[in-house]
């Protein structure tokens, strides 16, 4: 654990944040597709036209005036809506506009950063001046004039969020709400959280880069409260993608709600979970958060460049079992963790991190790639203009294996079957991680049997990836929010896998 993130808000580091039941996110709307633009509403893509290339060149020059070997300007404009339908009411509707610019200067291992939420030349030049403080009295480079670049597009939109009437959004939420309550009489409350945003980005740097795009995002969360005799369970199901409202034609809101309600009801029968080391089978999909925490974070290159991460000195070495291949791919079409280029302008691509058990790559941002003399992998990401980019995951998953998922369970004599996970966290230096089950069952004599209460599972990352002995062919994904001092949209994925010997935090001694 690091102190850094316990500063103003006490949020544990690297933890998938659970959306709280009440949530700060909420809005409401409904049925037909009508143009929804209010007159005069600024659109994210317009940020491109706010500053000329000449302006941006000037800011970069200013940033390097006193020294430095790299300077960058990042402009951002984000419009978002969030709607909350809870206890049968559209409780709140939120509209947010956030815009600003960050200027970064690097000189050797030093970084200066300043941001402003006023998009004027005066403020940009001022930010450049502040950011240049660290480079004072050093040597400087001559910036390359910026030139527009275009790259591949991994995000396709059929029905843009901009033209969707709020009523359409409300209708989607209502459908989910009704389906959740209709699922079972024990579902006493449903909470439907709809969020969408459009984020425009412009990145220009002293190496001549000038690139921009516009990223849509939808995040839809259903939570249902099941109430039984003397117990309750709050279930959760989420979907998220970078696309237009056509998402809900492909994935019906009713199905999301039913999946959630099923969990809430199933877990009302949960018995005490066992405590101690046992074999664990994790269902395909969002269970990938296990490797996101256990090995994903430790493979981010910032702690490697500092020489303190658990994988320091392990490149090209065997770190995991033969059946384990780990991939981070920010170019999977329309995925939540996908962008066309990262927040430093590096194109996205598929990066195999661990191949058949051998460590082959770290996830880098510009700084760590330079420090480690490694390739740029497209993992330099930032929550917003208020943050410096750091190495982050995108869509991270265990690659498909050969085993039949049913046989994985059948060949496990005794253990725990983890069907869904709340989230987890890791200390990337020591490699000790944990994750917490939302829905889990006992495995007895090769059969999935009774549900057990949510337990926290702990272990050391190397033990886990060395202990994976079966990998299914049923790769699937789930969306998440990853925190590392700043938030990033990610996807975690995996096929059904079995891990030998994880410590399970149950309440029942064996």
């Amino acid at each position: 654990m690091s102190f850094q993130d316990y500063f103003f808000k006490e949020i544990p580091r690297r933890e998938f944040l659970e959306l709280s039941l009440k949530g700060s996110v909420a809005l409401a709307s409904a049925a037909t597709l009508l143009s929804n633009l209010l007159s005069g509403e600024t659109q994210p893509k317009e940020i491109v036209s706010l500053f000329s290339r000449e302006d941006l060149n000037k800011v970069i020059q200013q940033a390097l005036r006193y020294g430095g070997d790299f300077a960058e300007v990042y402009l951002e404009h984000r419009l978002s809506r969030s709607l909350l339908l809870e206890e049968g009411k559209f409780k709140s509707a939120i509209y947010r506009l956030s815009q600003g610019a960050g200027v970064r200067v690097m000189a050797g291992d030093k970084t200066g950063y300043a941001y402003t939420d006023e998009l004027t030349m005066e403020k940009l030049l001022r930010a450049a001046e502040v950011a240049s403080y660290i480079a004072r009295n050093g040597k400087t480079i001559k910036p390359v004039p910026i030139k527009e670049q275009k790259g591949p597009n991994y995000i396709t939109v059929k029905i843009p969020l901009q033209i969707v009437a709020d009523e359409k959004r409300l209708e989607i939420m209502q459908r989910a709400h009704e389906a959740a309550l209709a699922y079972d009489a024990r579902i006493k409350m449903a909470s439907i959280d709809y969020y969408d945003e459009i984020r425009g980005r412009v990145i220009a740097n002293s190496e001549g880069l000038y690139i921009f795009d516009e990223l849509p995002l939808i995040f839809f969360t259903v939570q249902t409260l099941g109430v039984g005799n003397n117990t309750s369970h709050l279930g959760r199901e989420r979907i998220s993608r970078r696309c237009g409202i056509e998402l809900f034609d492909e994935i019906k809101p009713e199905d999301v709600a039913r999946t959630c309600a099923r969990e809430s009801v199933a877990m009302l029968e949960a018995k005490e979970a066992p405590a101690g080391k046992m074999d664990v089978v994790v269902q395909n999909g969002w269970g990938g958060v296990l490797v996101h925490e256990a090995v994903g974070h430790p493979l981010e290159a910032d702690n490697i460049a500092k020489g303190i991460g658990i994988f320091v000195g392990k490149m090209d070495k065997k770190v995991a079992s033969d059946v384990f291949t780990l991939v981070d791919d920010g170019s999977l079409p329309n995925f939540r963790g996908t962008t066309n280029f990262d927040d430093e302008g590096t194109p996205m691509k598929r990066n195999v991190l661990i191949k058949d058990g051998v460590l082959v790559k770290f996830m880098t941002d510009l700084l760590s790639a330079k420090q480690l003399k490694m390739e740029k992998t497209g993992n330099g990401r930032r929550e917003s203009f208020q943050f410096m980019p750091i190495p982050r995951m995108t869509n991270t998953f265990i690659e498909r294996g050969k085993d039949n998922p049913q046989e994985i369970i059948a060949s496990t004599k005794k253990g725990l079957y983890v069907q869904s996970i709340s989230g987890g966290s890791v200390n990337p230096i020591t490699g000790v991680f944990n994750f917490t089950c939302r829905e889990a069952y006992l495995i007895e004599n090769g059969q999935k049997t009774i549900p057990v209460k949510g337990a926290t599972l702990v272990g050391h990352c190397l033990d886990i990836i060395q202990g994976i002995d079966a990998v299914g062919h049923d790769l699937d994904f789930g969306p998440g929010i990853c925190g590392k001092g700043q938030i990033a949209e990610v996807t975690a994925g995996q096929p059904t896998v079995r891990i030998r010997g994880i410590n399970v935090g149950g309440t029942r001694g064996r």
Binding site: K9, K110, Y133
Partner: protein, 444 residues
Amino acid sequence: MDFKDLAKQTIKKCLKKGAEAAEIYLENGRNLTIEVRNGEIERIQEAASYGAGLRIIIKGRMAFASSNDLKEKSLDEAINRAIAFAKITSADPANVLPDDPRVSPVEGLYDPLIRQVPIDEKIELLRRLEKLAMKDSRITKSGGATYREGEGEIILANSNGLLKSFQATVCGYGIEVVAEKGEQKSSGSDFRQRRFYADLPPLEEVASKAAREASEMLDPRPVKTQRAAVIFDREVAYALLGGILSALNGERVLQGASFLGKKLGQKIASDFLTLIDDGLRPKGLASKPFDGEGVATQRRIIVHKGILQGYMYNTIVAKRAGVESTGNASRNSFSSLPGIGPHNFYMEAGQAKPEDIIKATKTGFLVKEITGYGINPVNGHFSGGASGFWIENGRIAFPVKGLTIAGSADEILFGLDLVANDLDLNRIVAAPTFRVKALQIGGD
């Protein structure tokens, strides 16, 4: 820009455009972060920023819009959007804004000195902190020393005539270090923050705590799965309070999603548990004269000697519950609606010395780090990962890592049988070291 004037004008404009009630929450702040590693500056970040959140109510329907662009065009757009949204949300007679003009005077929220201390002095401070932490021969690497400061002003105005504001500062420093031995790595860190620069604790204290935390955890040994006494060090005791805090949220209580929902006036813990929410503590990190929607803050006893005295409410949820707001409207920032949250929330200290609690424990687990989600606020179920020290015959025997602890809220709260006198109020959620008679521990 005169923010108070802007706030008043914006409220007027909202009413003119059709809002029946309106509120503006304006934030204007500045922050600085410095990181030093291996004696060199690694990062300096500085920025000033502001923004406003608008809450609009029309015929009992509520909507919200926020913008960090305070130019007329953008603010107008935000107002229009909020008014449009207020046509599609559901009506609720509880959707009202506060109207009480009072504020609670709180001393020591703003230190004008912080910004006057030169940046070079702050950098030098980090260099010294890092050096001190690296002095310990078992420490092999530095994860970096960090200094942060922030100051800001909150301005709140609404159509009931409220216009309130306050200024606050915070500053802090800390360090992370690594101890290595063969293939083993162990990390330790400490970070402290205060409202006033002059109140920051001595560098030696912060450095030695981080170094000790990293080095004393080397060479852990396994223990068997068993039930035993668990001592929660004051560093982790707060982790348990998180779930309790969520369960005290008046909205969760109304929704039936709190394990404390039907326990008002009842015994929920042993006599050793007294919980206080204090918005008034002088120099408190979470103290403020009014909450996130302008209601005067208070100091409240939430649990007294094990008996639950009350929940936490903002104005809307209080009205739905038929009670008064407790001044617990919380905002993450100007861009969020007021939710419900604590101020300085703590468990009252006891009489025992922490070392006496260890002495009184024949076999047990002294927990120094907890991971996971803490107590589940819905059903009171607790399960977490834990590391710390194993206790045998009243003495610390060896470090342990990768264990789990689990139980129910009842087991923990009624099992509380010893509470130490080491409460540190300089954190937002705080508890002293305490012992729980027995919990399930998962190991080999």
